[in-house]
Amino acid sequence: MLHIENLRKVYRGGKVAVDNLTLDIKKGEFIAFIGTSGSGKTTALRMLNRMVEPTSGTISINGKEITKMNPVTLRRSIGYVIQQIGLMPHMTIRENITLVPRLLQWSKEKRDETAKYLISLVNLPETYLDYYPSQLSGGQQQRIGVIRALAAEQDIILMDEPFGALDPITRDTLQDLIKELQKTLDKTIIFVTHDMDEAIKLADRIAIMHDGKLVQFDTPDNILADPANDFVKEFIGSHRLIQQKPNVKTVDEVMIKPVSITVERSLDEAIRLMVKSRVDTLFVTDGQNRLLGFLTVESLTGNARTKKSVSEVYNRDVIFMKTGSKLQDTVRRILNLNLNNIPVVDDQQHLIGLITRANIVDIVYDSIWGEEEQELMDA
């Protein structure tokens, strides 16, 4: 759907930012452009909506060459998520989301409907539509930044390091969100990043750029298995190359049964359950076993006298993994975010399992003695 051929950009002063870039991107693909700063990845991205005009070469979308299109019309048809969020501070969230529809002169009813639909996609309440960007946290603002790029039903979304300015936890949740949106809405996303973890996690194919040239363009697995040259090897980092090798396990194979409590129970019952099961954390669910949050023993000690039920004290900021996630990703997340454990949920948010730090021990054990054990058992 998107065809880039011999694309070249030379800036005034003779600096070659992008050199003979040729790529084919299919509909519904998630592509990451990755490289060090100055590798030309952002320039390449900006040429796609003509924020930067190419020196030579062609870009065509669905067979139509974009240099022959009106740049304003072109930009309205391509979503764009900017690095520093870039919400209009003087417009409400509603006005921000529906900016492109407004430029396209959609009716007010249709714009309102779009705003409501989109804000529900990123799990924010409708009341936020009348807020101003400064009233939202950075992560919430960037959620709006993302849905703003979807508002006019654009098929192609360009993202220029959209999560660079966010803290690791927020970045992680937003990455999950964007991946899910991309799958459900079947959008083609082209994403610029310098974070290899982000690229591996999100992209269907990764384009590694260096000094304006495309060094390798392949799926994350293929790149990890077979780096094109020493630069790519170094860029990926040796720890990822090793991580990728052991047999890939999913969380479903190793997760244990979590201890959970429903939200309407009393704190007395919660403490008794903790003592009985010998755990310091309970997962809080609703009547249908859907994960709502968690309750730690620390949160009980101070409040037990004044508060009566679980619903008053439990923590709603729970980080979880979806069923089918790779175990490595899960462990990486536990280590990165310094968690003790991480619950696993299915597609309907039902709590089905728990991965703990003990699983890390298993992985280390497996990778060191796993093969020996296999031999012993065979003998």
């Binding site: 072109l74 870039g86 919400l87 209009m88 501070p89 003087h90 417009m91």
Partner: protein, 215 residues
């Protein structure tokens, strides 16, 4: 002092009105010229330097001299006074419009363009609203200047509250000088207050919430 206000009450109203009329016309003319000019200048930085230097130089001409210079061209009365005061009001408005437009966050402007705004739409929907706090503060500054300088307009026969002060000087009547000065000050404060209300109306709500910052 109270005598001054009671004896001249009718005159005071008339002169205050004249004073307001001269200042307001000058300011309005200044805004109409300086705001669009400032916007244009923010797009052409080379010319901007020259124009801003010229207006700075105009600003340094003594106000009394500038009023006197107007006489051979425009005669005496309100018109030359308004023209001269308008010239004075230009610099703060022009300067602030220029700075305001320059200070609009590049990222936000780029976001607008990337979403498919034409240059005119970007100006109307993004750049002007974001530059508005700085432009408005330039207008308020000019308003106070113009009202106090309009006192001198009396010298070329334009009337206004300056009449009281000049009469006081000629007749050695202190209460006329002090009373006139008080009225000018009061008018300046009042106009500044009204403009601050107008500013609240002009500056988008989302910007006021973050303390008027433009980024």
């Amino acid at each position: 002092m109270i005598g001054f206000f009671t004896e001249n009450s009718a005159d005071i109203l008339l002169k205050t009105w004249e004073h307001f009329y001269i200042s307001f016309s000058a300011l309005l003319l200044g805004v109409v010229i300086a705001v669009p000019l400032g916007i244009l200048l923010s797009k052409t930085k080379k010319i901007a330097k020259i124009v801003l230097t010229v207006t700075s130089v105009l600003q340094t001409v003594p106000s009394l001299a500038l009023l006197a210079i107007m006489i051979p061209f425009l005669g005496v009365g309100k018109v030359p006074a308004i023209v001269a005061l308008c010239i004075y009001s230009l610099l703060p408005i022009l300067n602030n419009t220029f700075i305001g437009m320059q200070s609009v966050n590049q990222n936000i402007k780029a976001a607008g363009t990337a979403m498919g705004m034409t240059p005119m739409q970007s100006m109307r929907m993004v750049e002007l609203p974001l530059a508005m706090p700085i432009i408005m503060s330039g207008i308020r500054l000019s308003a106070v200047y113009v009202i106090s300088w309009a006192t001198l307009a009396s010298y070329i026969g334009a009337g206004g509250l300056g009449d009281f002060i000049f009469n006081g000087l000629n007749l050695y009547k202190t209460e006329l000088i002090v009373g006139g000065a008080l009225l000018v000050t009061a008018l300046a404060l009042l106009v500044d207050f009204l403009l601050s209300r107008f500013e609240r109306f002009m500056i988008p709500k989302g910007l006021r919430m973050q303390g008027g910052r433009t980024s």
